[in-house]
Symmetry: C2
Subunit: 258 residues, 2 copies
């Protein structure tokens, strides 16, 4: 299959760099085609702004979504954005790899999402009516593709456990896995998380290679997280709240996993 | 009091721009000193990298936290970072104002956090032992100051309700309010959120001014979110999990609010 790794760490000799290199090798050895978007090496422009279009909508004030729509529909997106969209079209599986900084992705990767996820490409797609609320959360332009996070963090696994102070890792990652990956249609595989990165010696790195290798070998067969599709009956439209008989009594992120 | 507004929207004539202008006026009229860090106008550098130090740690590979520590301790931080830290020291209250993009803050603001939140300033502060795990989550260099989010979103309020598809707004904002603001010591006030921004006419904007005005008038007296301090007995150290008798049976983000 075709695998795109969107990689975001400033130092090639870091743990993240070693993990990235290992992943590329493992996937290539298995016969997959691999592309890497190395955002720091590409000097990826992080901030979304009016310069993302080659020509503006006349004299209208800049509007993030309307300008994105205009540029996407008219072939006026800046070249760096269009290139990344082509990589997403090409990919069967997308891996976002990053260190968890302040409980989210690095700014440079967030800026990749904001700019590449154009109106008409990743949102604002499909019919809005009494029965459907766009092609999103399980439908969309990226449906049929798989995505997975590979994340490193300095915190310990217990700090991200059900009652750990940072919050459960599944909840910390929910805005990314559900809000960024499932939203435009990806099937989202469980994340691969490396904790306590300050204590990775050779022995532990061998274990990481083994665990990650298993995950990479089974990209096509691992069961995705069972997020609930938006337009298949579980949600009232347009309120987009779960129907009373779905996950009765549950609230919060966990209610959106079947 | 001294109020710092860290503002992140690319278009001054936007709803966010109007809200920012109103907030500055309301606070100034009440006799407060106000500074605004307008990140787009400042062309804030979003990506954290080796250029954030005026001089590196010899030939060592770039390391995000060790380089930050070295630069902070030795007065080698880039001037833009040091200036923002001075504003944080000056402020009694900090407002982060931004549109919710992909369920988090814009990349440019995330990059402000990553770069301004230096090692020794916002993390890596205090003693790590069997009894304390650093000055964080309720303690730290920013303790005694207040912080509040002012957020706009295109989604409807019901989409962010307890069983709404985007997840409850308190959970969506938890990684920011708890992980970014409470972590270095801020008392975090409840957020002010404007939903369904595509439907803000003059009448609704008048209501927003009224509601936000009330919040700004009561910055000093509003009760903060009752996040649990890390080192005051609720958590086991170093596992940083809640003790069994604290919020028994609860898991997830909500367990960390008393």
């Amino acid at each position: 299959m075709n695998v795109l790794i969107v990689y975001s760490h400033p130092e090639p000799t870091s743990l993240n760099g070693a993990i990235r290199d290992y992943a590329v090798q493992r996937l290539s050895d298995a016969g997959h085609q691999v592309q890497v978007s190395d955002l720091y090496a590409m000097q990826w422009k992080a901030q979304l702004d009016a310069a993302d279009s080659k020509a503006r909508r006349g004299d209208a004030p800049f509007h993030p979504s309307l300008d994105s729509k205009h540029a996407f529909e008219n072939g006026l997106q800046s070249d760096d954005i269009a290139r990344e969209q082509d990589k997403l079209r090409w990919a069967d599986t997308v891996i976002l790899q990053f260190p968890l900084w302040w409980f989210s992705m690095p700014a440079i990767l967030k800026g990749w999402i904001e700019r590449v996820y154009a109106y008409g490409f990743a949102y604002g797609v499909g019919e809005y009516s009494d029965e459907r609320w766009g092609d999103r959360y399980g439908e969309g332009m990226l449906a049929g593709k798989r995505a997975m996070l590979v994340v490193t963090t300095g915190g310990w696994e217990s700090h991200y456990s059900a009652r750990g102070i940072n919050g459960p890792i599944d909840d910390v990652l929910f805005p990314i896995q559900h809000g960024i990956l499932y939203y435009p249609g990806f099937d989202v595989l469980p994340p691969y998380v490396v904790y306590r990165t300050s204590r990775v010696d050779d022995g532990r790195f061998a274990a990481i290679r083994e665990e990650l290798g298993q995950r990479l070998d089974t990209l096509a067969t691992t069961a995705p997280i069972a997020f609930r599709p938006q337009n298949a009956g579980d949600y009232r439209i347009p309120a987009l709240t779960l129907r009373e008989d779905v996950a009765p009594g549950l609230a919060g992120f966990a209610a959106h996993v079947a």
